[in-house]
Each structure stands twice: as structure tokens, then as C-alpha cells.
Symmetry: C2
Subunit: 169 residues, 2 copies
DNA sequence: TCTTGACCTGTTATGATATTACATACATAG
DNA sequence: CTATGTATGTAATATCATAACAGGTCAAGA
């Protein structure tokens, strides 16, 4: 088995959007997933493994219900928790990412001004502040440019503790 | 009316989480909203104005249904589109932000490694790449630190065009 | 004045995403 | 072999979001 860096695939930023031996990356990733879960004392069961395969097969983000319908085709349970639980496991194990939203709105504190906001969301009191993120945005633009990707809109959110709640903890 | 920078409130990053004359910021923001919508030839109708007030009153992000239930208390319609439409208007006018996520999952391309991913999501072909965003993350951390906010988890997403789709456009 | 057309609001219905609660199966330590 | 913890299956329901259409308001122009 080649070392990870030998795989000329998805994990290499410049090649992420380019054609590459995707089957190779997939096999490689599955093998590493087996090793990592074993090392963590967790079990990469058939459903979980299949969900990871499904995610790896696609070069895009899948909704939980997309995953679920593919699982159902393979004879697994087709109720939402089946997919959500396997996905949660993979995220916990660092094998997948959840691209998430808050489903919420805040008033803009800089209306009428051109600005690149980042949102600081306190997980304790749920306060939200809008911080200036021009630098972070610039860094993102330049990282994207490495892959030839053109950023049109960016979402930068931080979940953590506000000063007040930090003081109380 | 004081100039915006005279308002010692929400819009000042260092003070965003600190105690301040919030009523002042609110009044100020509403006045500016009136001016901005008028200048844009748009109408800040009672529902829309009320929704902005509701968002401004809270120092946190509200779900559309939260907004809706407060609207209903004031005698406005209590069907989801009432809130969604007003919120959409405010976002279009730059008076509010929508904090959103994709509700989707991708396989991690760097499992087992400590990394700060940014997601590059092509709006045309829906491909998703995971780009290294250590710099953007560092910039975010430092912007947050200005307000005394401690970042635990960050979500950095870019919506735009991948190289392939750019070529086709 | 009347009409027209643009835009705003309300309502019904439905789609899409996510979780709770509980029942069953299964692996493995003792 | 059995008890325990963990994984999976299922039903029901909660939460978030949009499509489609009906009616109201208001201002510009005939």
C-alpha cells in the first residue's frame, strides 16, 4: 500500500478538482479508516463502512437523505436515524466532515458598508457577534486560488465561548 | 443623529460582547435602515421593519420560526412565508445576515491528521474540495481574540466556481 | 376618475432536514 | 452461557423551508 502522500488524488489541494485516480484515493481512504477506527477502539461496522464508501465515491457533499436512499438500495434500514448515526460516527472519528448551518439570521451591524463578516457564536449563551474578517477572507481567497477555485460567497463561522461565559466557566 | 462610529455598541468588535447601550444601537440601526432602503428605492414596510427590530433586540441569531412567533404576537400573519420573505428582503438589502450551512456531509481527505479545512463548493457542479485553511483559521482566531472570544470550532465555506465550471462559463 | 400593473401580504399545502423514543440484535468480557 | 454495552431497526414527530395561489394596496398614466 502506498503511503498517503503517494496518492495523487483528492487530498492534494491543487488536484482536488482535477481528474485523478479516484478509485485509488477511495481504496486508500478506506484502508486508513480501518486502521484509524481500530486504533481508536471503535468499530467500522458494515453500515458505517458503506456510508464512508458512499461519501468517498462522490466528489461532492451529500445530504443525509441522499446517503440514506443509497443505503436502502443496499438493503440497510431506510429510516433517517440509520444514516444520521453512521454519519455522526464518521464525523466523531474524523473520517467525515459535516458542512453545517445554523439556520438562523442576525441583523447586520454594518449595513451599507462593504464588509467580510465572520460570526462568533457563543455555545453557552448563544450570543452572536459579527467580527471583521477581511484577513481571514483574503486567506481563504488565496487558498482557493491555489486550486483555481473562484470564491463568490464565503461563510465564516466560529463556535466557542464569549468573554462573559469564559469568565463563568 | 450621531454618526455610526459614535454608537458605542454592537458594531464595535471589542465591545460586541460587552455591556453597552443597546437601545441606542437599535435606534441607530433602524434609522440607517430607513435611509438605506429609501435610497435603494425599496420599502421598509411594517412587517419588515418589525422583523429588523426583532433581530436587533436580540444579541443572537434567531431562527425564522422564532421571528415568526414574535410577529404573530404582534398580529402579523403567522405562516412561515411571512417571516422568510421579510428576512430575505433584509438580507437582500444588506440589513441582515443569513448564517447558513449546506446540511451535508463529505468524507474527510485528511483523516487522522490535525487540519483546519475550508470547503470549496462549486455552485455549478456541486463538487466539494477540502482546502487547507490554516492561515484563514489563524486570522479568524486572532480576530476573535480581539473580542475576547475563544474559538473552539470554525466553519469556513466558500461558494463559487471550480476550475472546470469556470472554463465552461 | 378609473384602470392597470407592480408589489406586498396572507394562506394552504407540501417538501426537506433532523431527532426522540423505544424495540431488537449482536459481540464480547466475565 | 449469560450479562452488559453497543449497534441497528422502526415509528412517530419536531424543525426548517418553499411552491403556488388569492387578495389587498398604492401609484402612474389613460
Amino acid at each position: 500500500m502506498p503511503a498517503p502522500q503517494d496518492c495523487p488524488g483528492c487530498a492534494t489541494p491543487d488536484l482536488a478538482f482535477a481528474a485523478h485516480d479516484h478509485a485509488h484515493c477511495t481504496a486508500d481512504a478506506l484502508a486508513r479508516a480501518e486502521a484509524l477506527t481500530a486504533a481508536a477502539g471503535a468499530r467500522l461496522t458494515p453500515v458505517r463502512r458503506r456510508v464512508l464508501e458512499i461519501l468517498l465515491e462522490e466528489h461532492r457533499a451529500l445530504g443525509a437523505y441522499d446517503v440514506l436512499s443509497r443505503l436502502a438500495q443496499d438493503g440497510y434500514g431506510n429510516q433517517p436515524p440509520v444514516a444520521y448515526r453512521a454519519l455522526e460516527f464518521l464525523v466523531d472519528q474524523g473520517l467525515a466532515h459535516r458542512i453545517q448551518r445554523l439556520n438562523a439570521f442576525t441583523a447586520c451591524v454594518h449595513p451599507g458598508e462593504d464588509h467580510a463578516p465572520a460570526f462568533l457564536i457563543c455555545r453557552s449563551c448563544h450570543a452572536v457577534a459579527e467580527a471583521p474578517a477581511a484577513q481571514a477572507r483574503a486567506a481563504l481567497d488565496s487558498a482557493a486560488a491555489q486550486s483555481g477555485f473562484l470564491v463568490e460567497r464565503a461563510t465564516i463561522e466560529a463556535l466557542g465561548l464569549c468573554p462573559t461565559c469564559r469568565g463563568q466557566a
